[in-house]
């Protein structure tokens, strides 16, 4: 925060100074509904944050313009900050004031339409005049569908600017000036500004880092807090200026992309809620998400300590992968994460799960959601194979105005808007179209995304997980698919080969190394399900079936040891499909035959069943069972 420019004047203001004496037609485009910090000492105090209209009135009237008049097609001409200016304007243009405004339609045939009044004002030499056309985006429906009267109106405006008069003032000669405020330049007919030699377009953008720092300096900073809080906290931070600087820096980082209006609203929220200086940054979450209990803040360190054991109950044989996943979470929780939101608003963590199919990648994401947010429904899954088309980004982020589906918004942006504290799981990311990868780049870099409806969605409280089967198969010299890793390789070997193949994919095949850079060292390779883990998975699944039958139907199942051995050998014989393959075998060898046997023996509940054997070679497989009398 040390290097604050003494007199910070934003670029657009410097351009306004530069061109207001040269170009009689200025178009201010972009953030026109925002408020702005007035950077000069003048009729308003320096650094005061004021609406754009007041800003322009102040700047222009302080610089010799005796008539600064605002026009809106709904009200007419006004001069809200100095009514005397409107009186002079009415006199100089031969118009009359009614109810505090000179009423004039934007189009029409009368001599008193707004463009005709503007023409008279721009031609006269009695008083230096600046006319600001507010909401100029809304004077016509669309530039493509203008009727002749619309065209005439803009034509008169253009002619007025082309032959604008110079006027002698106490501050030198001034050229009468026409300023249009538009949200987007293409709201105006292109012929109005393209190849127009007297027109200059100025872009109004959200306050940059320097501007936001400015809000945090001197007495401006005090205005963020209630008097009681500021008086109470100030002595401590006077003693510890470094801590104060860190808080300010963090706030400046977190508010990237926000408008002055948003910053000012956050300031008022901070005051209203009596937020302390130490907790200043919490106002950003409060402002963005409203009152939503932030699960990150109530995350229990103790519960994270046992997370690995909890995870191992659900995911078997993935010690290293679980350890690495939890490392990222721990970094986020302790604020040590390079990609957390503490300073930049980026997502809390980014993980790239790779490895053979059925090894627990999705399950790990769900387990993580349950651990962090109390419920695995907070893991929002997107199957990226559904986003393989070039226009798929619209499905995810929302279609732009005028396109089909605009009202619905985007699937991803809607989900995060509804639940900003979640895990976003993008399954099989390699199947998404490359335009989507560009969107992800922005999310990973800035932590936010603007949807088709113009709403900004923040990803700063999410963990983003990509899963992929990249690196399991590679193409040989003839383009044939061949295994890159096999079950007989050790985990370190699998890990090295998969990582290397992923890097090759992004760098060489896709030509997008920047995506890999955003993921950093967070590629987590899941190992093959090996025999020991497979036995645990099988046992877990069988136990679950038995307990469910007992709870729901009061059917108590016991499997004889030798029968279980038979089931085990058949179920884990082929582990190429990982845990999912074991599940399929359990369904085929146990669930289906057992259901059939229960049905055939008319057992719907309250029974003790002993499974004495599995006939796994039969087609379909069957079970050998007997019913035991109740003990």
């Amino acid at each position: 925060m040390a290097e604050i420019t003494e007199n910070l004047i934003p670029k657009w203001h410097r351009e306004l100074e530069l061109f207001s004496g040269i170009k009689p037609l200025l178009i201010l485009e972009g953030n026109v509904l925002d408020q702005y910090r007035y950077p000069l000492q003048g009729s308003v105090a320096r650094d005061e944050i004021i609406p754009l209209s007041r800003y322009l009135h102040t700047y222009l009237s302080d610089n010799g313009y005796g008539q600064v008049v605002f026009y809106s097609n709904l009200v007419g001409f006004m001069s809200p900050y100095d009514p005397a200016m409107l009186n002079r304007f009415a006199e100089n243009t031969g118009t009359t004031i009614k109810d505090g405004a000179i009423q004039a339609e934007f189009k029409g045939n009368s001599a008193d339409t707004a463009p005709n009044v503007i023409r008279r004002a721009m031609f006269q030499r009695k008083e230096a005049t600046a006319i600001v056309l507010e909401m100029a985006s809304h004077y016509i429906t669309t530039p493509e569908r203008m009727d002749q009267q619309d065209v005439n109106s803009f034509n008169i405006l253009m002619q007025s600017a082309l032959s604008s008069s110079w006027v002698r003032t106490t501050q030198g000669k001034k050229q009468n000036l026409l300023i249009l405020l538009v949200n987007k330049l293409n709201d105006l007919p292109t012929w109005f500004y393209i190849n127009n030699p007297v027109c200059k377009i100025l872009m109004l953008e959200a306050p940059d880092r320097e501007e936001r720092k400015r809000m945090m300096t001197g007495n401006n900073f005090a205005a963020f807090f209630s008097g009681t809080v500021y008086r109470r906290d100030l002595p401590y931070y006077t003693e510890h200026p470094d801590e104060l600087e860190r808080i300010k820096e963090r706030f400046v980082g977190l508010t990237e992309g926000m408008t002055f209006t948003e910053l000012d609203e956050m300031r008022l929220l901070c005051k209203k809620e009596e937020i302390s200086i130490r907790d200043l940054c919490t106002v950003v979450d409060l402002y963005k998400y409203g009152i939503k209990e932030n699960p990150w803040s109530r995350l229990n360190m103790q519960s994270l300590k046992t997370a690995k054991q909890d995870f191992e109950k659900r995911i078997k044989g993935q010690d290293t992968a679980l350890e690495r996943t939890l490392d990222v979470v721990k970094r986020a929780v302790t604020g040590m994460n390079g990609v957390n939101s503490s300073s930049t608003g980026k997502p809390k963590g980014v993980l790239f799960f790779a490895g053979p199919t059925g090894t627990g990648k999705t399950e790990t994401a769900k387990a993580l959601a349950e651990k962090l947010f109390g419920d695995e429904s907070n893991c929002i899954r997107f199957d990226m194979s559904e986003y393989g088309q070039s226009h798929s980004d619209q499905k995810l982020m929302g279609a732009p105005p005028g396109y089909v589906g605009y009202e619905a918004g985007g699937q991803l942006t809607n989900a995060v808007k509804k639940n900003p504290f979640c895990i976003l799981l993008f399954d099989e990311i390699e199947k998404a179209h490359s335009t989507i990868l560009d969107k992800f780049l922005q999310i990973l870099e800035d932590g936010r995304m603007t949807d088709g409806q113009g709403n900004t969605v923040y990803f700063s409280e999410t963990i983003i997980i990509f899963t992929s089967n990249l690196g399991i198969y590679v193409k040989d010299a003839f383009g044939h698919r061949e295994p890159n890793v096999t079950m007989d390789m050790s985990y370190p070997e699998v890990q090295t080969k998969v990582r290397s193949a992923i890097e090759d994919y992004f760098k060489l095949e896709l030509g997008r190394p920047e995506i890999l850079n955003r993921i950093g060292e967070n590629i987590v390779v899941f190992d093959y399900i090996r025999r020991e883990a497979a036995e645990l998975i099988l046992k877990g699944q069988v136990d679950k079936i038995i307990s469910r039958l007992r709870e729901q139907k009061n059917i108590r199942i016991r499997i004889e040891d030798f029968a279980y051995e038979g089931l085990k050998e058949a179920a884990i014989f082929d582990l190429s499909n990982g845990g999912r393959g074991i599940g399929n075998q359990v369904e085929s060898l146990l669930i289906n035959p057992l259901s059939r046997w229960l049905f055939d023996n008319e057992i719907s509940g309250d029974a003790n069943i002993v499974i004495e054997g599995f006939n796994t070679s039969a087609n379909p497989p069957s079970v050998i069972c007997r019913r035991e009398e109740d003990a």
Partner: protein, 221 residues
């Protein structure tokens, strides 16, 4: 002037001086030349548009209104009214004192209390109201009860006046708590400490002052 008969000459002189200072500072709040925004053009008022007559203060509505909170941090940051509602002269007074007030200077507290006279509206409800700021976070106020009001409805009177005093003082200065003590015939009959936290976000139009005072630990003796 009936109440003046019970006051000493010094007290009467003091009250007059206070009223003059308060009128100078606060009375001009609504005058046209002090409004920061340009006034709306004069409109003919229809009977419906006439402002509702303010009902006179009594012990059954005393706590429902209070002075507007002075935004000392805004006053520190801006030389001109940032809310567009406060007059320039009044704002300049705030601006001049903001730094000292926010640094907890007790002399500045006293000066603001004397000049702003936040309890000026309450003189009809107590024989005397005294203020003391022992530290920058707390104001202590002691009022001498009026016999007739105390007899009318003891708990209601003490709670209503106590709450109103606390609200006005919390609005005036950036303190965290206001201790209020009521005295009658030299004995303490009421004491309570209201914190800013306790009174935040309340709709006082619907608050029962006795219940609130009790909730805040009031002692009725």
């Amino acid at each position: 002037m009936a109440e003046d008969q019970n006051m000493s000459m010094d007290q009467i002189e003091f009250m007059k001086r206070m009223k003059a200072i308060a009128s100078d500072l606060w009375g001009g709040r609504y005058t046209e030349e002090e409004t920061a925004e340009t006034p709306e053009p004069e409109k003919k008022k229809t009977p419906q548009e006439k402002p509702a007559a303010k009902s006179p203060l009594n012990i059954h509505n005393l706590w429902k209104t209070a002075d507007e909170t002075i935004d000392w941090t805004d006053a520190l940051a801006h030389g001109a009214p940032s809310d567009g509602l406060t007059g320039q002269r009044l704002w300049s007074f705030y601006h001049k004192h903001a730094e000292q007030i926010l640094s907890g200077n007790l002399n500045a507290y006293t000066e603001v209390l004397q000049k702003a006279n936040p309890l000026g509206e309450l003189t009809d409800f107590a024989e005397e109201i005294n203020l003391r700021a022992p530290d920058p976070d707390r104001i202590e106020s002691t009022f001498i009860c009026k016999e007739d009001l105390l007899e009318e409805d003891r708990k209601q009177y003490l709670s209503a006046l106590g709450l109103r005093i606390a609200r006005d003082l919390l609005a005036c200065l950036p303190v965290s708590e206001v201790a209020v003590r009521g005295e009658y015939e030299g004995e303490t009959v009421y004491s309570v400490t209201f914190t800013r936290q306790q009174l935040m976000h309340r709709n006082f139009a619907f608050v029962d002052p006795v219940a609130l005072a009790e909730e805040c630990g009031a002692q009725f003796i």
